[in-house]
């Protein structure tokens, strides 16, 4: 193996093993920041030694063992060592004394809980949203700061800062390294799900680029979602989130036209949808629905599944979609969910029924500058033949949107209404 091949192999090992190593070290040290530093030390040692010695047979165990040695060295050197440090050093030493062969088994016993604790810690509400995202990708995804920076179109220094600050915040707030239990669990879990979905959407909203990182964010969010579903199989909405991401990812290829223009769901070539991901998504949705009461992600996945199951746009079960939006609105009331429900109701029961709901939203302050409100209202008015009113709404939507393509589309629709009205 050449040096660069070895480095490629080390990158791959790091990507596969780092989360487990960091999680194991965090359990022992109780400090995620220290755990990551130690794991990075071990990575440096691998980069020094493996090109000479070759990649060891069990590279994960090697990294863990090396990191533990470094931990002992570091804690010994630390003259300000607190009692906690002495305790940690003793625990590490006693572990060293046990047969190295047992290490793997010892790790395996804890690895699930450790990883889960690491996910909950990285997504802790004490951190800002940006920090949660960066820390999750770094600690769970094994991404470098450079990769995270490129994915989020910010500088590497910004991401590095974010991560340093996040680790300090966790340490200052004395956030325990653990899986939350009881009443705390629901809120903490929804923070984790929100972070994963945010990462997914960051990749999903990117329309072009052959760089791994942006489309790769979708894959990574999906992967982490699957990992989480394996770690917390009884949590219904985790499966719901996985289902939602699998089904949305199935449309990645179909949602951009040859010149990079976005193609709306109903206009997409369904043959280009990824049917393997759809199958996986529908299976995850079944697990979600079997595991308990449907949470917000499960309901959104169920809506996505209505589209995925329809062989053509005409075959869409809009009645079911409208009823799912009603359930979602009851669970997480939001004018945007209500607007979506209006669209589904219009498709299922005619434009007049949809318009009644939309008209109820016109006084909604949250939608005051939301371009899709006049866009949807214009569309329904046009279908009802109320062309002058429709034109005014399309013009208003054109004024509000920040997207050039959309502005052009809205102005075009306004012109169509004007010329149809003139005839």
């Amino acid at each position: 193996m050449t040096v660069s091949e070895t480095h490629g192999a080390i990158d791959a090992v790091w990507r596969i093993e780092s989360a487990k190593v960091i999680a194991g070290l965090a359990r022992i040290t109780g400090d995620v920041g220290l755990a990551e530093d130690l794991a990075q030390d071990a990575l440096l040692a691998a980069l020094e030694q493996w090109p000479e010695s070759g990649v060891p047979a069990n590279p994960g165990a090697w990294l863990m063992q090396t990191a533990k040695h470094r931990a002992i060295d570091r804690l010994r050197r630390d003259k300000m060592a607190e009692r906690k440090h002495e305790h940690v050093a003793r625990e590490l030493e006693s572990q060293q004394e046990r047969a190295v062969l047992d290490l793997d088994t010892a790790l395996d016993d804890h690895v699930g809980d450790d990883l889960l604790s690491l996910i909950f810690t990285a997504c802790h509400p004490v951190l800002s949203t940006e920090a949660r995202v960066a820390l999750t990708l770094r600690l769970l995804g094994g991404l470098t700061t450079d990769e995270i920076a490129r994915a989020f179109l910010v500088s590497e220094a910004t991401v590095a800062q974010r991560i340093v600050r996040a680790k300090r915040t966790l340490s200052d707030a004395k956030v325990p390294f653990e899986v939350p239990r009881g009443a705390d669990l629901d809120a903490r879990l929804s923070s984790v799900l929100d972070v994963l979905y945010l990462i997914f959407n960051e990749g999903y909203s990117a329309t072009a680029g052959d760089d791994w990182v942006r489309p790769g964010l979708c894959e990574e969010a999906l992967r982490l979602g699957r990992v989480l579903a394996g770690l917390a199989p009884d949590e219904a909405d985790v499966h719901g989130l996985v289902a939602l991401m699998e089904i949305q990812a199935s449309r990645l290829r179909a949602r951009v036209g040859p010149t990079g223009e976005p193609i709306l769901l109903l206009d997409q070539d369904r043959g280009r949808w990824d049917h393997l991901l759809i199958r996986r998504g529908l299976a995850a949705l079944e697990r979600a629905e079997a595991a308990g009461r449907s949470g917000p992600y499960t309901l959104q996945a169920a809506i996505a599944a209505c589209h995925a199951r329809a062989g053509s746009a005409d075959a869409t079960d809009w009645g079911r979609i409208a009823s799912l939006y009603a359930q979602l609105a009851a669970l997480t009331p939001s004018p945007i969910v209500e607007l979506n429900r209006a669209v589904a109701v219009a498709m299922a029961f005619g434009p007049a029924a949809g318009l009644t709901i939309v008209d109820g939203l016109r006084a909604e302050p949250a939608l005051k500058n939301y371009h899709l409100l006049p866009a949807v209202r214009g569309d329904l008015l046009a279908k009802l033949g109320r062309r002058d009113e429709a034109r005014v709404e399309f013009e208003r939507a054109a004024k509000l949107t920040r997207n050039e393509r959309e502005r052009a589309l809205m102005l075009e629709r306004a012109r169509q209404q004007a010329s149809a009205a003139a005839h």
């Binding site: 990992v227 043959g271 280009r272 199958r279 062989g311």
Partner: protein, 145 residues
């Protein structure tokens, strides 16, 4: 990125000899590890080539030959479809598969339609669409292709 990992046939796989329970257990553990890490998308083992057939194309002529086929090393005995960030990562995962005895597996990147560039004419895309729709119908009725 996606990779297809192709497991080559062996005398045993072609004879329809099932792996012993120890190997099955190890393979189960390996698959579980892949699934837990969120990288395994699909995977199947294939029946011996004696249960399969080959179709040879020449002009409008189709010549069908029933299995078994002799050149064992060229045959496929099973596959995985995995998601990985790089070829190196796919290789690192698959090095952990519990094979032995000279078994060979092949790691191949799955080409996206975009990779075919201009060769993918609108007609080809249309065909792809129809195939996809059919696959979707099969998926809906719970059948496997």
């Amino acid at each position: 990125m996606r990779f297809m990992v192709i497991v080559k046939a062996s005398k045993e796989s072609e004879a329809g000899v099932l792996p012993d329970s120890k190997i099955l257990a190890e393979m189960g553990k390996f698959n579980e590890e892949l699934a837990k890490a969120g990288v395994m998308l699909a995977g199947e083992g294939l029946a011996p080539s004696s249960k399969g057939a080959r179709i040879k194309f020449s002009g409008s002529k189709r010549t069908v030959t029933d299995g078994p086929f002799t050149e064992t090393k060229e045959l496929v005995a099973g596959f995985w479809l995995i998601q990985a960030k790089s070829k190196a990562e796919a290789i690192e995962w698959m090095k952990r598969a519990p094979f032995d005895g000279g078994t060979e597996i092949e790691v191949r990147q799955v080409a996206e339609l975009e990779d075919f560039g201009d060769a993918a004419t609108p007609e080809i895309r249309e065909q792809e669409r129809k195939v996809g729709e059919r696959a979707a119908r099969n998926a809906k009725s719970g059948k496997r292709q």
